[in-house]
């Protein structure tokens, strides 16, 4: 693996074996994360983005879930290269929280109501760094200071219910970063917060990334947040990556019809002000994961659908130049503007 890379996921497959059949929640996803960069994974609900992140932590509930294939190479803080798909549970416990940390969507319920925030931050430090409780509490105070909570020493003895949602998310970030992880997985960390607090939290994460130098795997369905945070973007649909590129080309020149649809469905202030924009919705719904359409899973909703071409076999992920990867048989036509909508 390239020295610049922190994570390299190849052909990851996570299947859920339910009574109704096998749900291929993630079916052959590949991506990589460089050191210090932010990779955003975007997609609708059920596209497999959260499962991907849980698979990297090996936290897929099993049964019914199982990682059935693929490699997840990860370079730990000790410099050792590991395949996360194959490590045993004891090693994974050392990696979780120490090398890879995670913050969750719901700051209101992610903190244990019976412990003070100081206790909870200190727990991770005691667990991974073997420090005494007192030292850990001191470090917890530093972490609270780092995430911008005023009077950190006093706040250590607060219970979660004494804090607002934004403050709790800051505490979650302090917990996640307390052991200096090299990768932070943020699973829709701002979805439950109101807009001004969202901006503050995103700003904070960017600032901390610069200070600590960690990589971030940012999972979201909010394209505005992607533009703000990400260096590169992976767009997922029905368990597969359909487009992967740097953030600017993704927004300026999307090649996959799904990405285009997503971008068109975001309100834009500049166009809205002149009443020129009517929001476009992507017609239809996410397909039932138990019976995906034949061929490209997006074809029933695609405006460039061509019968006989799109619904026969699953298109391969192709390089459209400059590492811009796209999974569409008609990407070349779309790039040149020749594709005609059906």
């Amino acid at each position: 693996m390239d020295d610049k890379r922190l994570v390299e996921v190849t052909d990851l497959k996570v299947h859920f074996f339910t009574d109704d059949g096998v749900v291929k929640a993630v079916d052959g996803v590949s991506f990589h994360i460089n050191k210090g960069e932010t990779l955003a994974v975007v997609g609708e609900s059920g596209s497999g983005k959260s499962v991907t992140s849980l698979a990297m932590m090996r936290l897929i509930p099993s049964p019914p879930g199982k990682i059935v294939g693929g490699r997840m190479l990860f370079r730990g803080k000790d410099g050792q290269l590991r395949d996360l798909a194959k490590e045993d549970e004891a090693t994974m416990r050392r990696i979780r929280g120490n090398d890879i940390a995670m913050i969750f969507q719901e700051p209101m319920t992610s903190l244990n109501p019976v412990y003070t925030v100081g206790d909870q931050i200190a727990e991770a430090i005691v667990l991974h760094q073997g420090k005494s409780k007192k030292e850990a509490l001191e470090q917890a105070a530093e972490m609270l200071d780092l995430v911008g909570i005023p009077e950190p020493k006093k706040r250590l003895s607060n219970y979660p219910h004494q804090m607002s949602g934004g403050m709790r998310q800051r505490v979650m970030i302090a917990m996640a970063l307390s052991c200096n992880p090299s990768l932070l997985i943020a699973d829709e960390p701002t979805t439950a917060l109101d807009v001004t607090i969202q901006a503050q939290i995103l700003e904070l994460m960017k600032k901390l990334q610069e200070e600590i130098g960690m990589s971030i795997l940012f999972i979201t369905h909010n394209l505005g947040v992607v533009a703000e945070m990400a260096d590169r973007v992976v767009v997922m649909y029905a368990g597969r990556a359909v487009e992967e590129a740097d953030v600017v080309p993704t927004f300026k020149k999307p090649l996959h019809p799904y990405t285009m649809g997503l971008l068109n469905s975001v309100p834009r202030l500049d166009l809205a002000a002149t009443h020129q924009q009517r929001l476009e919705a992507i017609p239809g719904n996410v397909p039932n994961p138990l019976s995906l359409p034949a061929g490209c899973a997006f074809h029933p909703r695609c405006k460039f659908f061509k019968p006989g071409l799109c619904d026969t076999e699953i298109p391969a992920l192709q390089d459209a130049g400059d590492g811009h990867m796209v999974r569409c048989v008609r990407w070349a036509e779309i790039q040149k503007g020749e594709a005609v909508s059906a």
């Binding site: 936290l59 099993s62 049964p63 940390a101 969750f104 992610s110 903190l111 244990n112 667990l127």
Partner: protein, 523 residues
């Protein structure tokens, strides 16, 4: 112009959860009543020596089944005076021709003094004292007797023995519930946490991972493990010596029993530390211990089956042989088969159901019969506690399981997992603390069941034995004299009233606690 607002007029102080609970509890009149009754009972049990005029085992052979001693308030001139008792003796009543206790004030009047010197005793078995609530010099000199609530068949004072009996009747519930809670928490949390998540129970010799596991530790670890095993053997030898030399000859005294238990506790902690720090790192020794445990089980099965075969014939021997072969085959299967997964939830919960399907009293009686008759009272107390909790842990385990099932799905449990916490840490630190309000209530409501269980056992003569006493045992005296107890010796039923009141008080208090601690009720 700005003025400083006095800080005392600010909003009322935040109340903590327990302060709020206390407020709600205080508003519950029956719960207050229950708590007050229990407080009186427990204080009475604590100060039983002070309340009772006589020592626990003092009996007056002449006065068996004596009615409550009459207490007089007026002297011979009809004037109010200090309460006194009169001399009494057992003789034939010339009018009814029955042998009964006749009180005769002409023969002597003996005033009752309060907070007076009585027979010496050791308060809590430690501090010498002789202060008693009622009595007088005449009581010590045995000129007259004071039986507030009559006597039992041995002529022992029931009023005093009620309080001595309370020591056992009221604490047995607490000890039994504590033990049942321990079992219940262990079983319930395992059951709830692993519900729907099968656990790898065994990796057998045919699995390559077994051998990879054995090879995974260094030579130094193996050597340390040998040292650790030697130390453990020495520890066990020392404990056995200590038991023989110091504990066994004097087992009937509670203090030596406590000392023994302390020694056992220290020994177990040392054992755990040695096992964890020295032995557990050597994977070879771990695998050997695992194999050894199964070989031990197989050996037990073998000698049992062999014994059966020696002493039986025909179909019986055939069935025994079949069963033995099946068990030995199962053990071989466990040892060899690459991987066996167990659903601990099913295993534990089905055992609870089997236990619940057997009638409680039946099971209690069967187990009590197993206690040898000649064990010392302190040991008997411990055994009765163990039996009661063994029969009754199922309900608590179910409550805990349901709570754990709910709490393990909370995001903070998953967040702890994402921080690298192991299963034990998540259950103990993040899941179980969320259940404590339910547990307090469940435990309070479970105690009366244990009190009744003990009473039932003692009533049947299978629980606490003479000369120790408990309310159930005292109540059995009423049964021993047949239906006449109701008409001629109603004072023998007084212990039943105490059982009734204690159980009711616990239920009232449990109800109040439930209302107070339920996080869903808001004030």
């Amino acid at each position: 112009m700005l003025r400083r607002v006095p800080s005392s007029s600010s909003a009322p102080a935040n109340r903590s959860f327990f302060q709020q609970a206390w407020l709600r509890f205080k508003r519950h009149p029956l719960a207050r009543l229950g708590a007050a009754i229990l407080l009186v009972f427990y204080l009475g049990a604590l100060f039983a020596d002070f309340l009772a005029p006589y020592p626990e085992e003092k009996s007056f052979r002449d006065f068996s089944f004596a009615a409550p001693t009459q207490i007089f308030w007026r002297d011979e001139n009809g004037r109010l005076t200090r309460p006194y008792v009169c001399a009494s003796e057992r003789r034939r009543n010339p009018e009814t021709f029955k042998v009964e206790v006749i009180t005769d004030c002409e023969k002597g009047r003996y005033p009752i003094y309060f907070f007076t010197k009585g027979e010496p005793y050791h308060f809590l078995g430690l501090f010498p004292a002789d202060l008693r609530l009622m009595g007088g010099p005449w009581l010590l000199e045995d000129k007259a007797r004071l039986f507030l609530w009559g006597t039992d068949d041995f002529g022992r004072d029931i009023w005093g023995r009620i309080w001595f009996g309370a020591r056992i009747s009221l604490t047995i519930g607490i000890f039994a519930v504590a033990l049942a809670l321990l079992i219940g928490i262990f079983m319930g949390s395992i059951s709830g946490y692993y519900a729907g998540r099968p656990v790898t129970f065994s990796i057998g010799l045919l699995n390559p991972r077994f051998w990879a596991f054995v090879r995974a530790s260094r030579l130094l670890d193996h050597l340390l493990a040998l040292l650790g095993l030697a130390l453990i053997a020495a520890l066990f030898w020392g404990m056995a010596q200590g038991y023989q030399l110091y504990i066994r000859p004097d087992l009937q005294r509670v203090s030596t029993l406590l000392l023994g238990m302390l020694g056992l506790g220290v020994g177990l902690v040392l054992f755990g530390l040695l096992l964890y720090s020295l032995v557990w790192r050597s994977h070879l020794v771990r695998a050997l211990l695992w194999l050894l445990a199964w070989v031990g089980v197989a050996w037990l099965v073998w000698i049992t089956v062999w014994g059966f075969l020696q002493s039986s014939r025909g179909l019986e021997a055939f069935l025994a042989g079949l069963l033995g072969a099946g068990l030995l085959g199962a053990i071989g299967y466990i040892l060899l088969w690459p991987r066996i997964e167990l659903d601990l939830d099913t295993l534990i919960m089905r055992s609870v159901e089997v236990l619940a399907a057997i009638p409680d009293l039946f099971l209690l009686i069967i187990l009590s019969v197993l206690i040898p008759m000649e064990v010392p009272p302190a040991v008997r107390f411990v055994l009765v506690v163990t039996i009661l909790s063994f029969v009754n842990w199922g309900g608590l385990a179910r409550i805990i399981r349901s709570q754990v099932l709910q709490l393990r799905e909370m995001e903070y449990a998953q967040a702890a997992q994402a921080l690298g916490a192991g299963d034990a840490r998540i259950v103990i630190r993040h899941v179980l603390p969320g259940t404590y309000t339910y547990l307090i209530v469940a435990v309070t409501l479970a105690i009366p069941g244990f009190i009744l269980g003990e009473s039932g056992l003692s009533f049947l003569g299978l629980g606490i034995q003479e000369p120790a006493t408990s309310w159930g045992l005292m109540l059995s005296k009423a049964q021993a004299t047949g239906i006449t107890a109701f008409t001629e010796r109603p004072w023998l039923l007084i212990p039943g009233v105490f059982i009734f009141m204690a159980v009711l008080a616990y239920n009232f208090m449990g109800d109040g606690l439930r209302d107070a601690l339920d996080p869903r009720t808001k004030v």
